[in-house]
Amino acid sequence: MRYAAIEQWSRQQSVLHRRDARAKIGALLAFLIAVSTTAPASRIAFAGYALLLAAAIAAARLPFPALVRRAALVLPVAAGFALVLWFSDERARAVALLEKSFLSAVATLLLVATTPMPELLRALEILHLPRLLVLVIHFLYRYLFVISGQARRMRLAASSRGRLQFRSAAGALAVLFARSWERASGIYRAMLARGFSGQFPALAPPRWRAADAAFFIAAVLASVAVRVAL
């Protein structure tokens, strides 16, 4: 399954994997802002951003083709809008739109491919995102694959019985809802039985080291340098 790849990547070991999630979030935002505010005509700047990302992928020891292929998921949507721009005679902006959306997708992917989801969410909680929201994202991510699997099996069963009618599709949706609801109450009871206190305990509390600060500053400086100089 495609999404399992990210989960695997995020559990590997590398210099980038070891950095504190907060440093990586900050670096990502700096990079995205730099890309977002780059003028469409500055071709060399986009090449510079691509080089920065390539260096980061190499440092994270992630498979280059697989990562690029995944980030390319953003290209169909971007291509649609790029066509509109192209035929409105804004060629430079059309190309820049493709470059910006693709580079941003690679950068975002780099964050989730080097940071396990629990660590990332813990960092967001430390950065004062509403706790309820962080918890809900946490549960959503954990049960996404379970319930998707259930939906996939239901779809397979339905399609082997023939074409699904509108009403029976609604019935399938309600059954999926019922199973999800039951699963949620089961999960809650199981968690209570194991002493859940309303917070996920972190296995290792995040520690901000000098290397994290150095990485963050280097990433910001590199993004700004490409943005300013090229």
């Binding site: 999404y3 700096a30 995205l32 802002i33 730099a34 977002s36 505010t37 980030a71 953003v74 949507v77 971007a78 509109v84 721009l85 409105s88 804004e90 820049a96 739109l97 910006k100 959306s101 693709f102 580079l103 941003s104 997708a105 975002t108 964050l111 990332l120 950065l127 004062h128 509403p130 309820l132 929201l133 809900v136 549960f139 959503l140 991510y141 954990r142 049960y143 996404l144 379970v146 319930i147 998707s148 259930q150 939906a151 239901m154 779809r155 699904l164 509108f166 009403r167 599709a169 609604a170 949706l173 309600a174 999926l176 809802f177 999800s180 609801w181 949620a184 809650y188 309303g198 700004v224």
Partner: protein
């Protein structure tokens, strides 16, 4: 319709990040107040359900099919505040794990779908469910998609993405069909859920303040007027939105001017960073204020 990064201009994504994050804080507070602790896993699993429900195809006409978007269904089942939190989590996971929607544009996407879309899906149910329940649910599904799409178009237009008239009409027609399909799916799904267990859905609240009615009527009127104006004068919106965005829209981003710095590039990056810090500060401040008030 998830807007990826690279589509929106800096003032637009900045403004919507500033707008969406405090609104999200309010929604999270309200949701937490309205629910007991056991609902935290429930909300997460409901998000996973909406995600997975997109795999169930509803046949619509020959050879085509639609799927649930879910804002209205969630709002009816969980209430608007909790539905906003769940929709936001879905958008966050889609942006992070599935490369569907951007990070800087997450505020805009949250505003379109998790705040405006959820409210548009819930208001008809809240206001009309006593008079005619089925049409209220249907209308909620329709409006949630229409309102989200209208905001997305407005944001793209404000970012200077050209919208030729014919293309705009075409995509509006497309979204109108999609909205009607969402209404039908929401209605059918709610009906099927009620047959399984009527306790899953929240009963619409009994008392409705007249103020809320007026707000809803005004919002509906504005939306319809906006669509009419947009379809008649698409060039008008571009003219209105693109070159002459109001000054206050730029002001939170320090107007791209940080004094004493020569390079315009550096200036803009600094202004961007300042804007982000400002967003973060605004959210912290709003969060404190809300928690103090509700405590």
């Amino acid at each position: 319709m998830h807007i990826p990064d690279g589509f929106l201009s800096a003032p637009v994504w900045g403004a919507f990040d500033v707008l969406a994050l405090p609104a999200l804080g309010i929604a999270a507070r309200r949701a937490q107040r309205g629910l007991d602790e056991r609902n935290v896993p429930l909300l997460g699993v409901m998000g996973a359900f909406v995600f997975a429900a997109q795999m169930i195809n509803f046949p619509v006409g020959p050879g085509t099919s639609g799927h649930l978007v879910g804002a209205a269904l969630l709002a009816i089942a969980l209430g608007p505040a909790a539905a906003s939190v769940v929709m936001t989590s879905i958008l966050a996971i889609q942006a992070l794990v599935f490369q569907d929607g951007g990070i800087l544009s997450l505020g805009a996407n949250i505003f379109n779908m998790a705040i405006a879309g959820v409210l548009a899906g819930y208001l008809p149910y809240r206001l009309l469910a006593h008079a005619h329940r089925a049409s209220a649910i249907f209308l909620g599904g329709v409006l949630s998609v229409l309102v989200s799409a209208a905001f997305a178009f407005a944001e793209l237009a404000a970012s200077g993405v050209p919208m030729p008239r014919r293309l705009l009409l075409l995509s509006m027609g497309f979204f109108l069909v999609g909205a009607l399909v969402e209404g039908a799916i929401t209605l059918a799904a709610v009906g099927a859920m009620e047959r399984l267990n009527p306790h899953w859905l929240r009963a619409p609240e009994q008392k409705t303040s007249p103020a809320l009615r007026w707000i809803a009527a005004a919002a509906l009127l504005l939306a319809v007027a906006g669509i009419l104006i947009a379809s008649r004068y698409p060039d008008g919106i571009e003219h209105l939105a693109a070159p002459s965005a109001p000054a206050w829209l730029h002001a939170p981003l320090a107007g791209y001017r940080v004094h004493g710095i020569e390079s315009p590039w550096l200036r803009r990056s600094l202004a961007g960073a300042a804007g982000l810090i400002l967003i973060y500060g605004a959210c912290l401040f709003a969060g404190r204020l809300i928690s103090r008030r509700s405590a």
